[in-house]
Subunit: 408 residues, 4 copies
């Protein structure tokens, strides 16, 4: 069966989007949503690249994007979609409408590599477990072979690899991550590495821009950033800023700007999708919580502030992430006041358009010969690779400045 | 009895702060808070002029400020303070500590002019009612005589007049407001004007910078802006952005930045202080609500957004303004999500430090020979005189840029 | 075309449910939900008559209910259903599943009588307007003819008439409502009456039990209660207690039980369905708000409590009624505390099962020869016909006692 | 110095209230509040025994109560009071007003016995640590000697011992708790026991009614209940139901009564007082959480409900317990809805009047010759000794029935 994309207009530049975690909720939302927009039955809400002024950049049109990817499970895209219909995130009309495009995408999903500490779920693809047990060099070669086949079969000008997989177990930083040379040696010596790093290595080494939408290690270590520099590629990450942390980094700067002292900021997150299930395991929860807390502390800048972030798995909420934050603060006269908010949003429907935005910005950066960690994408991430302020508005201004400097 | 301020260090430049509404909750908080900070028993929280980077401007020190003012009621400052202690806004230790300074201030409060449509409350000063019934030129002369006496008695280098009075009844725009010439003619002809405009006229004409912290007309009309230009004075307003509207203008820009469509934004405000009591009257509520709604609509920029702002008088809340906002929005895939927040803060304790910030910035601008509507103070107001964006972060950046350009 | 119900098991007793407002959201939910339960694809959630101990009464089985009704608009049930699917209240699978039963029901909907003050919406049935302009005796005869035809065609043992129509404009109490005799005379004289009273008259006079689920006048007036007594029929109402008021009457009793003084109770309701649209008109809003406020005040029993109930039309919320209540209370030492809640529920999905419960309880009461205002149904209503406590738990206990006394 | 209570009207029956944890926030609130009510400067809010119908019981008047107690720390009552003034729970006028009564009470506080696993805080009374290390029989004798001295010095007719101390570490149930005989043997053998059990033993054995307001073991074990029976004494507990759990048990029954299925009930508690500090230690948190969760699960009665209760220590909140609960539930048509609430109350000001209520009810029961676990007090406790429903309204009805049966 040919996976030649029937759904792409003939004379458009074709850009591949390789999704690591291609059967998950974000990828499913992305695939159906992209199809719906291309077929004109859905408005491009949530996509800042479709809205002035970012839309003024000469980005690849949405119609030019071709989807493929890896996953470690065998759940069909159709069943992922049915689940999201049940949850009220996807509409059944859209699923019917996009059936053909979805099936094309499904035809381009390959077994991925299972991260070492991950115990497989019920629907684990045995090939993923087998791949996960091979040597790192073999794993990289496998990923690169799939990318090469994708490029050839779909006649792609360029591929952007995006990691949207589940949160990995936290791993201690390894000495070989300090430089590309040391990492290469460790790979040669067969030392196993987090799956997210192998994907990043494979992508960059194969000439693909890389987006790490997860809190996983990805391409954040110096060794991989050197690889990106060596291959002259742009890449960005980590950990998409979709919901509660977004609101935190929007609201947080108000307090120092008004010279109000934040005494305590308590954040309670609840979610019920696979992400939530994985986060029940302490080792997986840790990296996520750290990013959420770090962003806030950096904005408030007061070591005396008491902060807390919790994530609880609440199955009935499914994809509807619900978070309650309580901010206790002190002002003039020592008056103690509070601000509390409840956020209720579909995590996957919030994430998917950001992934599309990042793919388009990465493809544009690659096409323009830009390299490195794309500081103009900081507003998309909980832990931007290039560091800098976590103040959302300052980050967003940086994106606007980038746009202005490129479209003059 | 001399009202010579015993509380000001001898060799400091003395700057007068003339509070229109000197017996109200904001003035009371300001007076006791300022005393507490000067005596070292209170931290200067809530004052951005005491915090880096704004504090780098060579502003008048807090110790150099001398308070005086007008009011239309006879309630003593001590009883206003006792009420705020009861409410939990002021601490009784502070009230005792600051008794001497407060008494000095009280000695410098004069009867003000009652706005025409205002019916006097129980504690109305009969002199204010009498003044309110005089011709506008006489009213102006009265105010100016009080300002002149204040300056002389307290040996002040400069006075900033701040309107912190209750919300006036909405008045239709008058033809004579279009130009200074026409206004002068109307004043000569004895045509009555809103009290807030007479105060602004008196202040600017007497060479004082003017801050309108209320939603009242103040110096916003072209005629009075021409007067400020003619006297080469800075002035700013209108309507201090203290609580729910502040949060709205902080959160609002997040939605367009993420290409999320706000379907509805409902805001319910409750408060129980005198401000709340006055706002029970529809004619007084109108101007306040308009500013609150306008700021949000301008940020969201989508005519299809359904918005609502309500203010209800809830006596038991006293000064603790409590507001609930519900934001219903739509994202990718048409997913409908919500963000709701509850704000609970002491309105007067939030307002008072902003007034001090604005006095210091106005005094500095006057001293520096700057004239006009002080666009760098937009972040302090619901309806900034110079217009421009309502996005709080963009407004605050403007203040930072002002600071940078002046302390370079 | 025969409307003989194909969907009713042959040997079951058949009970007719005549819905006044048969094309509205409550009726639509009821029709599809009932079908889903009968076909075994839906759990009977929300129905206390399906749960122990109420289920121990020998009630008519759900399979024995046959639906018919009146409406003043021409909107098809299918389009009402499509709207509720869009809103996320109904699932499209269920709509498909229940298509045949729904079509049977639709075949049994007749044009109703338009209430005098009601201006017709876009989809007004011209026959309803015409009927609304006839003499009251003619209107009653029309309704009774439809009821008789329903009974005959569907071979029904008994009919319960339920008013689930939109809120009528508030009407001043009329002198003729004081007694049946006076009402009969006024009807004879052709004096027009609220549609809800004509329906109640027609139903009771025709020997049908009557349920008034709306805040409309219904059968609450002495004249109609005398009619019910004369015909030896049970009837109940008014105004279904589905959401915010339910929570209020559950929470409210806690405060006096703990000797806590409620200083203020502010309630803000938002909804976006047709009910909300109608309530935008002040005259329609009034009766609804009164019931909501009255229930609370009666529970708290403190004339000093400040209460407020508001309803705002927020189109984007559609059927998802969202309400925020803020309770400010005082306890030992004069400490001031608060409890706030946000309720978010589908108003129609909450109402529909209560209607089914009431139909079954009314049918049982009629079958058992009970007459009058069914005090054991007080827990279903904001303004129970028989008065009494509004404390939900006390009301519910009364229902349990009724059950106990009947199933011994 | 004589501790003879000058503040008790001469001819009143004198009832002693012996507070275990006499220097804590609850005792401090109780002492100042009781003084304020007796002196007529405070309303008896929060006390259901001062409100109809419970007030119709011939209870000991508040003026007849004499306070004394044990504590393991040396913090003075005055400093506890100053802290609560700072927190906004106590008013400074009241503290001044009640200074003499408070000082009398302080004169009657004796060093208590430290629970084994408790590490002493900064202000630990070394005598308490010493007592904690003695044999259980010596500890009991010490407590009883203090009780005897209290009774004699203050000429008391009766003493009620109330445990309002901090949460103890959870201890595994011991075999000797099964019967009084076994417990006596274990005590003789010198086997150490939780402090709360030793207090309960000492109290009951000395003929005092006992109230366990804490989640500690107290008199809940069969051995101690046998002791109460043997001495013909009433006693009650455990774990005062003051805030979030109170609301849970008020709201919870609504869901089954409406046949709504609770999918998830998440409860997040935050507090910053000493109780909160102690609960940071997992072993101390456990017993508290179990009571909170158990009450809810028993009401909902659905094993499929997902529940969670958390308690976090948030120092800035001090005594102002703030809790957020999110209830996710399913109704007719499978519609998913939510109810969320935020509770904000002073935990000690909520607890103190309940303690007074319980003292009066216990004294009355003792005076009336009633023995055992006082089922009519279930509405005051998270884990009522006699078990039974957790439905607050059902529990409260039991209290009303008790009142009715006694005042006929």
């Amino acid at each position: 069966m040919s996976t030649q994309p029937k759904d792409v207009v003939a004379d458009l530049p074709r850009v591949g989007v390789w999704l690591v975690g291609a059967r998950g909720a974000i990828s499913t939302c992305l695939a159906y949503g992209l199809a719906g927009i291309c077929e004109g039955v859905l408005e491009p809400l949530g996509l800042c690249t479709e809205r002035d002024p970012v839309a003024r950049l000469p980005l690849v049109p949405l119609e030019g994007l071709v989807l493929g990817g890896h996953d470690v499970c065998t759940r069909s895209l159709t069943s992922s979609a049915a689940e999201l219909v049940q949850t009220g995130v996807l509409r059944s009309e859209l699923v019917e409408h996009a059936a053909s495009r979805a099936s094309d995408f499904e035809g381009r999903i390959r077994p991925g590599i299972l991260d070492g500490p991950d115990v497989g779920g019920l629907d684990l693809d045995p090939r993923a477990a087998e791949l996960g047990s091979r040597s790192p060099r073999e794993q990289i070669a496998h990923v690169q072979a799939d990318l090469a086949a994708f490029q050839e079969e779909c006649a792609l000008e360029r591929i952007v690899v995006v990691n949207v997989s589940s949160t990995e177990a936290v791993s201690a930083a390894q000495p070989e991550w300090r430089s590309l040379e040391e990492l290469e040696a460790a790979l040669d010596a067969g030392k196993s590495q987090p799956a997210s790093m192998l994907y990043a290595y494979a992508a960059l080494d194969a000439g693909c821009a890389h987006v790490n939408f997860t809190p996983n290690r990805g391409a954040g270590a110096p060794a991989l950033r050197q690889l990106a520099a060596a291959r002259k590629l742009p890449h960005c990450g980590n950990d998409g800023k979709t919901g509660e942390t977004l609101v935190k980094t929007v609201l947080g700067p108000m307090f120092p700007a008004r010279a109000l002292r934040v005494l305590s900021w308590q954040g309670y997150n609840m979610l019920g999708n696979r992400d939530g299930e994985v986060l029940r395991v302490e080792s997986h929860k840790e990296s996520k919580l750290q990013n959420k807390d770090e962003a806030l502390r950096s904005i408030l800048g007061d070591p005396g502030t008491h902060t807390h972030v919790g994530i609880d798995y609440v199955p009935s909420l499914q994809d509807w992430k619900t978070a309650w934050d309580y901010v206790h603060f002190e002002g003039f006269l020592g008056a103690r006041m509070s601000l509390q908010f409840t956020w209720s949003g579909s995590d996957s429907a919030l994430a998917a358009p950001l992934v599309l935005d990042l793919v388009r910005l990465s493809e544009y950066a690659a096409r323009s010969g830009e390299t490195g960690d794309m500081p103009h994408t900081a507003c998309f991430f909980k832990a931007p690779l290039g560091g800098g302020t976590h103040d959302f508005h300052a980050q967003y201004r940086r994106l606007l400045e980038y746009v202005e400097s490129h479209v003059g």
